[in-house]
């Protein structure tokens, strides 16, 4: 019995150690790779928003997949604060401004705004009111700009 308890404790201990190591590895991602990763996600947002923006302008009538596009943007929006860990301000070409780290609460709030507006966009995309959908696409784009204004150059 005694041996078995010890073995369980050992396994549990090992598991904790491994989790800790995994956490350390994640925190130690190279800044250049972090920048590459987050740029890919921002590009995803750009492409989804850009396509929906054409619908909002009234120049195309496509709206297939808008629920999924909005859902993707919503999922990415929740990752934004984690995509900008301390130290990821250099290492590769980035337009991230120092305010991301010096005004962290404002930055998190700006990302949260995109989460809120994209959640409303999912609802609007599921609905049948095209004007409401157009207005919510605009509101979501303004949430993008609201963050870029303070936290991104250009």
């Amino acid at each position: 019995m005694k041996y078995r308890v010890n073995k369980t404790a050992m396994i549990a201990g090992l598991a904790i150690c491994l989790t800790g190591v995994a956490g350390l590895v994640q925190a130690a991602d190279e800044p250049a790779n972090v920048i590459k990763y987050r740029k890919s996600l921002m590009t995803a947002n750009t492409s989804h928003m850009g396509a929906m923006g054409e619908f909002a302008k009234g120049t195309v009538t496509f709206k297939g997949g808008f629920v999924e596009f909005a859902t993707a943007i919503n999922a990415i929006s929740m990752q934004i604060p984690a995509l900008f860990p301390a130290g990821s301000n250099t290492g590769a070409e980035t337009r991230a401004k120092p305010e991301i780290w010096s005004k962290r609460d404002d930055f998190v709030a700006a990302a949260k705004k995109l989460e809120t507006e994209s959640a409303k966009l999912i609802v609007a995309a599921k609905g049948t009111d095209e004007n409401a959908l157009k207005a919510q696409i605009t509101a979501t784009q303004q949430a993008c700009g609201g963050c870029h204004e303070t936290f991104r150059s250009r």
């Binding site: 947002n45 750009t46 492409s47 989804h48 928003m49 850009g50 396509a51 923006g53 909002a56 302008k57 009234g58 120049t59 337009r95 605009t138 784009q141 303004q142 993008c144 700009g145 609201g146 963050c147 870029h148 204004e149 936290f151 991104r152 150059s153 250009r154």
Partner: protein, 311 residues
Amino acid sequence: MKDGDPMTATPANVVLKGLASVFAIAGAMLAAAAPAAAQANADAIKRGEYIFRAADCAPCHTDTKNKGALLAGGRALPTPFGTFYSPNITADPVNGIGKWSDGDFTRALREGVSPDGSHYFPVFPYTSFTLMTDQDIKDLKAYIFSLPTVALANKPHDIGFPFNLRFLQVGWKMLFFTEGVYKPDPAKSAEWNRGAYLTEALGHCAECHTPRNLLGGMDRSRWMAGSIDGPEGEMAPNITPHEATGIGEWDDIDLAYMLKTGAVPGGDVVGSLMAEVIRESTSKLTDADRTAMAKYLLSLPAVDHKIEKPR
């Protein structure tokens, strides 16, 4: 009727009645005039608010970064010549412009001259506001004077010699400033002229989007063709309809939508100072005005001028 009845038409009564009528009419006129004046002022304030938005006064005259009060000034405006601090333009009589007459205010915008006769530095875009109509200038003042006053003293500019010498501005103006209200081009449509007025006079887009020479004068041969050293060290893109280096692939719908939302074709949403312009100014305009601006900008000569930071 009995003698002494007030209604008896004796000569004296007629005079009295006449006087009473005159007073009654005068009183009624006065009573009517007061609300009419108040209404006229309310209308001016309402029009002025739109001008205030279109001219984007708030961002430069408010130190938003440090949670400063609206129009109380103090925003740092870094330029190649040093850092300017915007003045308080609330109607505070001591620190702001509360004592200014309509004439003072018009002169400041039209001529770039303060009430005490000194010349403004062109960081204040009187070079564009000179094109504004008298009516718009008066309405703008009415709106600014309807806002809360703030007793905040102005911060002196931090600029080096010799650029700090205000009298040199006389020479600068001779070289680079043309005074005068916008003259509509009769050969163009009303929409085009409206777009030109909004873009050049109120929006003062050229101030950032036109490259400047060593003395800070705008290069008129490359109007709106972008600048690598725009405000706050940012690049201002080429917004002429040049296919490769400007916005030649955009149409007026794209540009009007960008002015509303910040979203450019392809989906990126502009940041930094242009995001501020959109939030404070162009997103508050009517769709018709944004479309007029877009059509005007796309009618400008395409200038081949690639805006790229040297690496």
